[in-house]
Every structure is written in C-alpha cells, then in structure tokens.
C-alpha cells in the first residue's frame, strides 16, 4: 500500500482521484490544489521537487491546458518528472471520465442509455454535454439541481458539483468507465505500477 497524495483542479477531480486510488488499494494522503489548472501549472515544478520521496497523482483537464496533444502538456509543464510524480491528463475534461460509465450515469440522470455519448473523450465540451443531458432528464430534481437557471451566466446548476460528487462516490464504476475512456484506463494502469 502506498500513500498517494493528490494534486487536482477541483472538488469533482478530488473525488474521482480518491476513488481511483482507493480502488487500487492505496491510501489517499493529502489533497492539494483545488484551485484550477493555472495553479497546477504554476506549482507543478515545486511539487515535483519532492516527488522522489512523496507520491503524487496529478490530474489535469486536457482542454484547460491549451496544448494540441497530451504529451505536449507534460513536456512543457514537467520536463524533468521525478519517478513518484504521476501526472495524467484527463481527456478532455473530468466529466468525460464520469460520462464513461454510461450505464450508471444514465440511471443517475434518469435518461435513456443512448443519450450518453459512446466516446466521451471526443466530446468537445464534456461538462456542457453532461448539463445538456441533464436538461432532458425525466427527473425535475436532476434538472433543477444540475442545469443553470435561464438567463444565468452560471455554467452549471446550483447543486451540480455536489450532485456529481455524490454520483462519483456512490455509483461511479471505474471498471465500466475504463472501457470507454482510454485516458482513464491509462491513468489506472500507471497507478497500478507503483
């Protein structure tokens, strides 16, 4: 069992990372960051300096990085990666990984299975996609929690984050999600190696 510390963009990423680490029988240490991708970009080199002795799992939404392909992110942000630094880009956004467990998210959102994309990593804006699916939910509770009110500048509903976190911790099935998300699968396999 290894203690794995997390460095993530936000609250949903934290719950996702937590679940992956626990699934592999490791123990989660401290969760750092939760201040967006720019924070990670600015601090990653400093965190990396201690990654000879301390294990970190870093998750960054690929679409926030502005690069053309995931390897570019790592070569720019972390040219001298230490061995206990597990840096993974989430293609394209954490919601892709969540949508990848199609069966459970369809049930949670109370929509038909075919409404959930089969290739969530090729969605241009996965968060928007998830909100749009919720918009057509049969459940008014899901609609009112996850979808922003009309004319609001908010991107998501008032309870979006807390509801998605609840979904991840209670229902999200990593095994099923890995099949539809290569970047999740790679992250899982890499973490398994430690």
């Amino acid at each position: 069992m290894t203690v794995v510390n997390l460095l993530v963009e936000g609250e949903i990423d934290e719950v996702v990372a937590n679940k992956i680490v626990c699934e592999l029988g490791h123990q989660v240490g401290t969760c750092y960051g939760k201040k967006g991708s720019v924070y990670i970009k600015n601090k990653i080199a400093d965190f990396n300096k201690s990654a000879q002795n301390i294990c970190y799992l870093v998750l960054v939404d690929f679409m926030d990085t502005g690069y053309d392909c995931p390897p570019e992110v790592i070569s720019n942000w972390l040219p001298h990666k230490n061995n206990l630094m597990i840096f993974r880009t989430v293609v394209r956004e954490i919601e892709s990984w969540i949508l990848a467990d199609r069966k459970n998210i369809a049930k949670f959102l109370n929509v038909n299975l075919e409404k959930i994309p089969t290739h969530p990593e090729s969605e241009n804006d996965p968060k928007q996609k998830l909100v749009n699916i919720a918009r057509n939910s049969r459940s008014s509770k899901i609609r009112s929690s996850l979808v922003p009110e009309q004319n609001s500048t908010a991107q998501v509903g008032k309870l979006y984050t807390s509801e998605i976190k609840r979904f991840v911790s209670e229902f999200w099935d990593i095994k099923a999600a890995r099949k539809n998300s290569p970047s999740l699968d790679k992250c899982f396999k890499r973490l398994k190696e430690i």
Binding site: T30, Y32, G33, K34, D46, F47, K49, K165, R166
Partner: protein, 381 residues
Amino acid sequence: MFIQRLKIENWKNFRKGEINLSRRLFLIGPNASGKSNFLDIFRFLREISLDTGGGFKQAIETRNGVSAIRCLFARQKPDISIEVEIKDDDDSIWIYHLSFGQNQNRNPIIKSERVEHNGKILLDRPDTDDKKDIARLSQTSLEQLTANNKFRSITNFFQSINYQHLIPQVVRDSKGFSPVSISNDPFGRDFLHRVERTRPNIRDSRLKKIESVLQIAVPQLKELKVSRDSSGIPHLEGIFEHWRPHAGKQFESQFSDGTLRLFGLLWSLFEGDGTLLMEEPELSLHKEVVRLLPAMIEKIFRSRKIRRQVIISTFSEEMLADKGIGGEEIIRLEPSPDGTKLVSPLDSPEEMEQLRNGLSIADVILPKSSPQGIQELLFSL
C-alpha cells in the same frame, strides 16, 4: 520577552501537548479544533497575573469553573497544567508552571506552582506556608505583589499579553452589548474609550499612520480622528470623499465592518508590546488586504523598534501564501479521538521537504487542516 515553549495537560480540547512557539506564529486547523482555546491559554496567564480585576479565582470563574476547563479526554490525572518557557530579552530563560484542580467543594485550588530562572528554582509551591494555610492555594503568586518580587518581570510580561478580536457591531453599539463599561474588552466594548484615553500626541501619531494605511484599503477615506459628543462619549470620525462637493463626515456607526476591523487591527499593533493574540484577522477584509497582513504586522513592529510576539489564528489562504512564513512559524491543530494534537511541520520530513522546495504554507499545510470527511457535509443535508 516571548514564550518559546508551551506544555499543557488537560486544557480544554488538549489532553497533552508540548510545542515550540516562534515570535510570529500562525495557528491553523478546522472549525472547533481548538484555535480559540489555544489562544485562551495565554489569555488565562494574563488574567491570573492581574492583581486587580483578575486573579486565579476569577479567571476560573469566567471560564465556568475547573470542570469546564478540564479536557473531556482527561484520564487518571485530571489536573490541568500549563507550563511556559519564556525567553527574556537578555536571553535568560524563565519557566512558569501552574497546575490546578478543584477541591471537594468544587472550588479551584492550585496543585503546584513553580518559577525557574535559568534553571534556578525561585518558587516551588505548595511550600511550608501553603501547608500551614491551605486557603493560600486559591491564589497564584503572580497576583500577589509581595510574593512575586523575585519574578516581577514575568508577572509584567503576562499582564502585557493582549487579545484582540474586535467585533464591529460591538464597537458601534457598545451599550447594547453591555450596559456597564468593561475595561480592556477584546471584543471592543471599551475600544473607543481606550483610543480616546491614549495620550494625545501618541494617539494622533498612531491615527495618522493608521489613516495612511486605511486610505489604501478604503480609498474614499480622507481623514480619521477621535472626538467626543455632548454626552462625553468618544467617537471615531472619518471624513469620506463622495460625489458631493464637500467631503462627508461619518461616525463609527456608519463605518463598514471591514473599515472598523482594519482600524482595530492596526490599533492593536500599535498598542502595547506584550504577546499579541489575534483571532482570524482576515475577517471582513478583502483578500488583497489580507495578503499584506503578515508584512503589515512586521513593518509596524519594525517601525516601533519592538520585537513583539504575535500569535494569529487563521483560515486565510491569502495570508499563508506569503513565502516569508516558515514552517517553524506554524502550529496545526489536528483533532483526534484523544483530544486535539499540536502538530508542527518541523516534525514532518515530508512537509519540510515540500516547504524547502518552494511551496508555501497555503500550498501544503493548509490543505491538511481541512476537516475530515468534508466531502460528506453536503450529502447529509
């Protein structure tokens, strides 16, 4: 003088703890972990050393008795004890130790009291006099002028401890919170009286300095002064610039929470030179102002040419992002099934490595002080 080491037993949430303190110290920890109770140790030391308006018995009474102070986790040895190591300006070391409990009538009694100076024991109670007259054990020797002549300097030092937690509503309406006047009230009931009573030249020079800082945080503010109304009640008066051609006068009742808090905070930095205890100084302030607080405190002490100890409880990310704050200046309060633990980053090779590698307290220590199980907070609603 400053307190460089603290040892406590059975004090409120702390069953047992021993830790080094630095001249500037930040306390971090989740809600109800005991930050205020930690600060209360020093308030208690101040109160027991006051010969008038304080003393051991009263300090216990205002805390609702020994059993309310005693840690719920206390085991076989239920006495409460506090020991502080004080470094004097001449580098000599004082130790003050006090342990107390209650007798069968639930009255607080001193179980032991000890004063050492550079290893030499100056006081060791109970002594023969205490054995002859057991009633003596209801008073510390700090509060008795005849008993403390050999260690007057630590009595004076304890008396100079200053706790500040100004509550704007209280400053605005002190009568509403307490009809009788309270002296040295940390929440601000006598705050304006204290400001007003300060020697005019000192007061005006402080007000000028505070005004110049406040003007940056509150750009509309043009001038700051203290005046008395026709019934003799002191008021804080600010001249604010606004759209009218002539600037408008406002009194403390119209000041914003942030303006009053910042004023109180700055005033406390200029007032006194004993250990200053600050409870969440970031409250009501814009994060850009909060970011500057550590440097502001340092600059004011430097300008006063004093080396004053300051202990700050905080949740503020902005304040702790200051790279000038070292791991040795942090105490993290960590709740556990055996009472709250006092944790220093110095004891964690991992944390020290992260800090040495350029990360700030806000980056690596603050995340550790988030409440356990916070994820479930919303699920339970």
